[in-house]
């Protein structure tokens, strides 16, 4: 039995770049269940917040602690970037790559990757170069690649930005499946409909700070702060 990862506790966590504070200081405790959706205006620090929680943004202060040792935690999480990063190799090898990194034999890795490709409707494109895929296909590939190690936590940074309705639905379907199977999702989005469909809890981010944090139902029914209600109404929040 693997150790519990949650709660994730951030204390006064801070990310700075060139002397400017991008995110933080943040005090946050994330529990082990459900889907957290990060919302907020452009430039509020959603991406940086996700990257910080994932551990790929260098922290300028504070601490970030998983319930299990850091090394173990790193192995058990994955990240889907806003613009999917395609490795310059065929689809199947893109999806299999994370498995290869942890020493899964090539044949088995390719087999599991092929199954995932099937699941995201890329089953007949296994040997196509990933760089030649369309935007929606790329994002699905990135999702499959992130999920192939069966992470306990999956971070997603606006995975459906600039995708059409069908591609968005395909991705949401997969997300709901893995969430139901117990994967913890932490995802940012600009699509409020999507936020309402997926969220169990909401983090409203403004100016690099967590402005409001609570159960999704309550947040969408009646935000506690004027900025959040302005944001939900679609007003411009400065």
């Amino acid at each position: 039995m693997t150790q519990q990862m949650f709660p994730l506790v951030a204390k006064q966590a801070l990310v700075r770049r060139r002397g400017k504070v991008l995110v933080g200081p943040i005090d946050l405790t994330l529990a082990g269940q459900g889907t957290s959706i990060v919302v907020g205006p452009n430039g509020a620090g959603k991406t940086t917040l996700l990257k910080m929680l994932h551990g790929i943004a260098r922290m300028g202060g504070g601490s970030l602690d998983w319930a299990c040792p850091m090394e173990q935690a790193q192995q058990r999480q994955a990240f889907v970037f806003q613009t999917p990063i395609m490795m310059r190799r065929p689809v199947v090898e893109n999806i299999a790559y994370p498995l290869q990194l942890i020493g899964v034999p090539r044949k088995e890795a390719r087999m599991r990757a092929a199954q995932w490709a099937e699941r995201i409707n890329l089953g007949d494109a296994l040997d196509r170069q990933a760089m030649l895929l369309s935007g929606g296909e790329r994002q699905k590939l990135a999702l499959a690649r992130a999920l192939i190690r069966e992470p306990d936590v999956l971070f997603l940074d606006e995975p459906c930005a600039s995708l059409d309705g069908r591609a968005t639905r395909e991705i949401e379907d997969i997300l709901q499946e893995v969430a139901a199977a117990g994967t913890r999702l932490i995802m940012s989005t600009h699509n409020m409909g999507q936020a309402q469909r997926l969220a169990d809890e909401v983090l409203f981010v403004l100016h690099g700070r967590i402005h409001e944090f609570g159960p999704a139902k309550a947040f969408f029914a009646g935000p506690k702060t004027p900025q959040a209600s302005a944001f939900l109404r679609g007003d411009i929040v400065e």
């Binding site: 990257k51 994932h54 790929i56 790193q74 192995q75 994955a78 990240f79 970037f81 990063i85 490795m87 310059r88 190799r89 790559y97 994370p98 990194l101 196509r128 170069q129 760089m131 030649l132």
Partner: protein, 234 residues
């Protein structure tokens, strides 16, 4: 103008009759340069990837030095290798001076900076694409380097070809350390220099055309083998 035509005719005859000396020095040219290229690539390509992936204190300086060394004068390299390998030099006991091995060493020194610089340039771009992904996946330093070298292999081929071009046409260094000894260290470029010195322009030109044709042929062969231009490949 007459010399040029004579040269073309000479080259034609040398090729058609498969002149034994010509075949010998051509093969030696190829052997020396391809060996040097293989060794240089084994040094330069991982070095380029390491410079792209790893942040260490002397990284910028190393890159600047490599770039500067791209313009290393071959004859000076030849001189340095000569001093190292000469009987009285530190590596004199090996008895390598005036052998093809000495020529290989000199060419490796000349092309490592060139291959490493060009390779680093393209791997750096690839790394800026891959950076977040590989770090997010927890790839180790070695795994990152491997991924860059494999996925960037077509760009690396270009770097290697540039190295080949510089080495195959190089005369200053191999003349000094090889000595242009008939049947031992004579290669196409040194033979051309010799024939020109003797006033045998037609022969020199003939050899020159053979050299150019060979360089083009090797490039085409490598491109063809690597499917560089075929559709949809990277």
């Amino acid at each position: 103008m007459a010399d040029l035509w004579d040269g073309i005719a000479q080259a034609f005859w040398l090729l058609v009759t498969l002149d034994r000396d010509l075949v010998e020095i051509t093969l030696r040219s190829l052997r020396v340069t391809l060996t040097a290229l293989a060794i240089a690539s084994m040094i330069a390509l991982p070095l380029a990837a390491l410079l792209a992936v790893r942040r260490f204190r002397l990284r910028r300086v190393t890159i600047a030095v490599l770039n500067a060394l791209m313009g290393l004068p071959p004859v000076v390299v030849g001189l340095l290798v000569y001093v190292l390998l000469s009987r009285a030099g530190p590596l004199g006991v090996l008895g390598l001076l005036f052998t093809p091995t000495a020529m290989i060493i000199a060419q490796v020194v000349i092309i490592v900076p060139l291959v490493a610089s060009i390779a680093h340039q393209s791997l750096r771009e690839l790394w800026s694409d891959y950076h977040d992904l590989l770090i997010s996946m927890n790839a180790s330093q070695v795994q990152r380097i491997k991924a860059l070298l494999w996925d960037g292999r077509r760009a690396l081929l270009t770097a290697a070809l540039a190295g080949f071009g510089r080495a195959i046409g190089e005369v200053g260094a191999i003349m000094v350390v090889g000595g242009n000894i008939d049947h031992a260290t004579r290669v196409l470029t040194t033979a051309i220099a010799l024939e020109t010195g003797k006033g045998e322009f037609a022969m020199a030109l003939g050899l020159g055309f053979v050299l150019i044709a060979m360089a083009v042929a090797v490039n085409l062969a490598i491109h063809w083998l690597g499917h560089t231009e075929s559709e949809g490949r990277w």
